[in-house]
């Protein structure tokens, strides 16, 4: 009987410990949110919400801070990264599930996953030392000569091609985020009931038509979820972008402009903001970024859960 009580005690103890550990996750989340909120309060009180996100001045001398440019920069680099990454990721998912011979599936899938495993600082270094010079010497001038001469669209390619700009940053980002969409799409494609595909083949559809008209519509939610994951990752990426973006507080006028993003600004200015309101404004940016990425990730995960994939 004594051992019974002791066992019961141990069990309750263990239950308590594990429960507390899992609550730590929530505590962490709330903690981050609250700390960011508290630290950014001075900036919020001085600039307000709309006032902050619509103001493009970042003037430490005059103590006037506005988040418009870093927020815009974050959205723009992520947007372009997505444009470059999503078609590629979908193509890769299609290739792996439908086109590649069975023996190659695992190795190629694994290789693409490795792209996500490479630390972002390595991407940054490689971007600065290898990609940026190639961009400024060959790729960007080439694009300027060809696509740059088109009306309207060509304006995107104006400016001095230095290699340290949105284009390079977005390119690197896009490579980093391919695996997130690709693996979610892969899983989603494999969950399509074979019956659906076979009936399409049965009426004479080609492989591509099956993919285009059966598989992809069926996996819409999953694919959106994967895109959301990639976006969430792109929004929060720091080191890969910090090397090649320039931290210039100005609205970009073309793909070849330098600009600033929230993460790059944080990395450059956090330990060095000597005025309190400067630091509070940085925390304010961090808070906004946190809310943005949290929301996008939550929606994305929800979509993925709905499709029954992991």
């Amino acid at each position: 009987m004594a051992t019974f009580k002791r066992e019961y005690l141990f069990n309750s103890l263990f239950l308590a410990i594990t429960a507390l550990s899992s609550f730590l996750v929530i505590a962490l989340l709330l903690g981050i949110f609250l700390v960011l909120l508290k630290e950014s309060l001075p900036a919020f009180q001085r600039f307000g919400f709309l006032g902050f996100i619509l103001s493009s001045s970042w003037d430490p001398v005059k103590e006037n801070f506005g988040g418009a440019i870093p927020l815009f920069g974050t959205l723009v680099t992520s947007f372009f990264a997505l444009i470059l990454a999503i078609p590629i990721a979908l193509g890769i998912a299609i290739f792996i599930t439908e086109v590649a011979p069975k023996s190659l599936r695992e190795p190629i899938g694994m290789a693409i996953e490795l792209l996500a495993a490479i630390p972002s600082i390595i991407y940054g270094m490689w971007g600065l030392f290898t990609l940026a010079p190639i961009q400024s010497k060959y790729i960007e001038p080439f694009l300027q000569k060809t696509l740059g001469s088109l009306p309207y669209f060509g304006k995107l390619f104006s400016g001095t091609p230095l290699g340290i700009d949105i284009f390079t940053a977005s390119l690197i980002l896009s490579i980093m985020i391919i695996p997130f969409t690709a693996s979610v799409a892969r899983d989603a494609f494999q969950l399509v009931p074979p019956v659906l595909k076979e009936s399409a083949y049965g009426v004479g559809a080609t492989k591509w038509e099956v993919i285009k008209d059966v598989v992809i519509p069926y996996c819409k939610l999953g694919i959106l979820g994967g895109i959301g994951l990639s976006l969430g990752r792109a929004l929060g990426e720091t080191m890969a972008v910090a090397f090649v973006l320039g931290n210039l507080n100005q609205f970009p006028s073309s793909l070849f402009s330098a600009t600033a993003t929230v993460t790059v600004k944080l990395a450059n200015e956090f330990t060095e903001a000597d005025k309190d309101i400067h630091l509070a404004s940085l925390f304010y940016l961090a808070l906004l970024l946190f809310i943005m990425s949290f929301t996008i990730l939550a929606i994305a995960k929800y979509f993925i859960q709905r499709t029954g994939t992991k």
């Binding site: 001398v61 340290i164 320039g246 931290n247 210039l248 903001a273």
Partner: protein, 340 residues
Amino acid sequence: MKKYLFIILSILLLISCKAKEEAPKVSGKTLNGAGATFPYPLYSAWASAYYKEKGIKINYQSIGSGGGIRQITERTVDFGATDMALKPEEVEEKRLLQFPTVIGGVVISFNLPELGDKRLVLDGETLCKIFLGEIKNWDDPKLKALNPGVNLPSKPITPVYRSDGSGTTAIFTHYLSDVCPKWAKEIGFGTSVNFKAGIGAKGNEGVANYVKRTPYSLGYLEYAYAVQNKIRAADLKNAKGKIVSPSVESFKEAAKTSQLDPAKHFYAWMTNAPGEGAWPITGATYILLAKEKAEVNKEVVKFFDWAFQAGDKTALELHYVPLPEEVKSKVREYWKNQGL
């Protein structure tokens, strides 16, 4: 599983034992400092020699003057370093102590492949316009006027500035504010200003890096960085209208007319100095201490006292100007008055 756990635990035990050996009681064996990138090559060299001689580690991290000011204000480091001297009121308000250590020059480094060995001459007005984005190309008439007989290409200039909080920026923008009313009105001076054109780099190191690898760029840089990395620096027209080259002599000339006064916590600017051969963008760099941390401050002061005695040669080798003897005595007196 149990075997692995045991191995890991024993490794940790070993490491923590070693840590106990090295762990100082009151940061006695390691002093942490952070701040200006301006004197970083010098402080680093001094720290290396000091460690060899006394076994005390001076861990100095170059994160920019803004960082130095912030970190010492928050008391997260033992000493802060800044090239932008805090005004006496600020020093009192933040309960700090401030003293200069060495003098250096900010130069205009550039990357112009076509120049060859010829020198490039600039003046305050053109610099101002370049960094405002008003002069856009190398072959702008104003630049041509200053450099007759030089083949300036028709390429756009890429100005490079500091993206982090920088005392070097403060010295440079203070100079621009001195010589250029438009700059003073629209932008002002400080460790971090709202630059209108160019790309930002982190630290003097970052600016040197970008200028070195980006043709047709131009950036303001502490002299040691330009020399160490073999980057060309421009000559400037100073307040007297003479064209001077950056050198220890021209920095010394500029420092002569400054008034480093302990009563004002040595707050002074040396930009646009009136001397004949004065370099117009000169400045001193300072150390900030937290007033209440007497123990730590004693150690820091010991290090800089040692540097004042034994470090002049290294300073000159790295193209910094050691403080004149009168100033050093003033600084030592300042320390004594604070009980250090």
